[in-house]
Symmetry: C2
């Protein structure tokens, strides 16, 4: 039996898993990324952790045949990272080469959302489909496009950056510096922005009550929870978000025409109250032929998607 490592490198913590060639996680753990200590420090620490895990599982290090990593930034040719979002690491580091020097094990990387998409496609909600698009609706919106066995990683690692597709020509300002990006409407942050804006003119609603009038407390979850209870203020925001979510998904359908759309992340947790509206609105945005046999599913792997998908980069 051969074994594989999946690593999901995050801004604060990095998740590390040891898997078999079926994508089953035999053991996993989380360590501080400590990016401030430098890239070599972090990579060495990851490899030491892998060796400890292997020892605990009584797995010889010779049987570890691949390391896959999900990276918060654009990855070129599954080896080089164009830049690390929020890390004090150099541009264009060949992480694959570095990790192979440290470990002696073949290493491949891809963007973290692409890796989640790969995990969900191979082992989760997308199992059995050959064309999938995974949309991670979290603080921002990320996407991973999988077509006939391969991720669309792009010429410079920006493939699947659907969060920055523009839905309004002069829309809301985005963290990227541009305007009207999909993620300014459909991310958890987008939900919060719209809610904060509306709370300035409407304080007699369930959301305002749920946060005790303290705007600092506001999370997307408050809106979804109140909507589920039937609060009209919250329902109207869910409708607003669903409209843009449908427009964004519709555009992806017209361009990629996948078998399945997989929604993950905090906003997806809103569940049917959001999904039902999206299914209702989608025919206004997507060509009929792209919806006919389409499945829209919620992600199934949760936090394991990154580790599983990363390991699959080398299986």
């Amino acid at each position: 039996m051969n074994y594989f490592v999946g690593v999901d490198i995050g801004g604060t913590n990095s998740k590390i898993g040891l898997l078999n060639d079926q994508g089953d996680i035999l053991k996993s753990t989380s360590i501080k990324t400590d990016s401030i200590e430098g890239v070599d420090y972090t990579l060495n620490k990851i490899w030491e952790t892998v060796l400890e895990m292997a020892e605990e599982l009584d797995i010889s290090r010779d049987l570890i045949k691949g390391i896959g990593m999900g990276i918060p930034g654009p990855v070129i040719d599954q080896k080089k990272v164009a830049f690390f979002a929020n890390f004090p690491w150099e541009k264009n580091i060949n992480i694959s080469e570095k990790m192979e020097e440290i470990s002696g094990v073949k290493t491949r990387l891809d963007n973290d959302v692409n890796v989640i998409a790969l995990g969900e496609t191979l082992y989760g909600a997308g199992k059995g489909y050959s064309k999938s698009v995974t949309i991670a609706l979290g603080t921002g919106v990320g996407g991973g496009i999988f077509v006939d066995g391969k991720l669309i990683s792009g010429a410079t690692g920006a493939g699947g950056e659907i969060g920055h597709m523009k839905l309004e020509k002069e829309g809301k300002l985005c963290g990227c510096g541009q305007k009207g990006c999909f993620e300014t409407y459909a991310s958890a942050t987008g939900v919060i922005r719209e809610t904060l804006s509306r709370l300035q003119i409407n304080k007699t609603n369930g959301v305002y009550k749920a946060i005790d009038g303290d705007l600092n407390k506001l999370e997307a979850k408050h809106v979804f929870d109140e909507a589920k209870k039937g609060d009209e203020f919250a329902l109207s925001i869910v409708d607003y978000v669903a409209e843009y979510l449908s427009m964004g998904i519709g555009n992806v359908l017209n361009i990629i025409n996948p078998d399945v759309i997989i929604l993950s992340g905090g906003v997806a947790l809103a569940g049917d109250i959001l999904l039902d509206k999206v299914k209702e609105k989608l025919p206004n945005y997507a060509l009929a032929i792209t919806i006919e046999n389409l499945k829209i599913k919620l992600g199934e792997l949760g936090n394991d998607a990154g580790i599983k998908g990363a390991s699959a980069l080398t299986i």
Copy 2:
């Protein structure tokens, strides 16, 4: 030497070419499609024409190893046509099977714009690039996405239908029945619609003069020609079109992140007056990393792109 057939089936005429395995057109011709006579009639007529061409070139029919076809409609698995736009032919016909029965030669098909994209990518403006998006700016807007050796044809043949990506939530009504589609702004028809609208309130301009005040005469070319002469009315329309063209291209860049964007079709003939504005506006819509090394090129194969690309489906 083996030979290949490329066919570009159009609403009125179908272009047929006989090519060598380098994609060189040895002979080509055009026949009436006569779709009204039925699919068997048209396919037989195409094959008869191929045999005549082969005879003229003194090529034995045994050396014809493949037939590729560009189809005006969504194609599934390069064999089955979901429906023919504007043809009185049945849905879900397996054209590949039918043509193989008639000719005894392996036959593969894809959507006509996808096939143009394949031609430009392999033999024209995209030669040498592994990731390209071809945008055909004609009566409508079509797209063909080529990534690492394969077209993104989609689960139901609608891959690359970027003309129906929505750029305005409540935008101009499109022929597809939806609103705000890319093609309502960036196609030749889009240029005409906007110009007609503006001519209602402004008749003292070069365009109005060029068409002798006869709105029926108006073509996109009038607008581009007057813009090149410096007419302000025309320049302002070019600017409007360039804005939406940049937004649409920007979205494609953020999702696919290709090496090269290839523009073809009538609107692309506007040339630098349009392209320069697009290059100027693109940084407002596309992530910087997707533009850094991007090439934006005009198609190079003209009317041969379809035949060359079609033949490549079986080479």
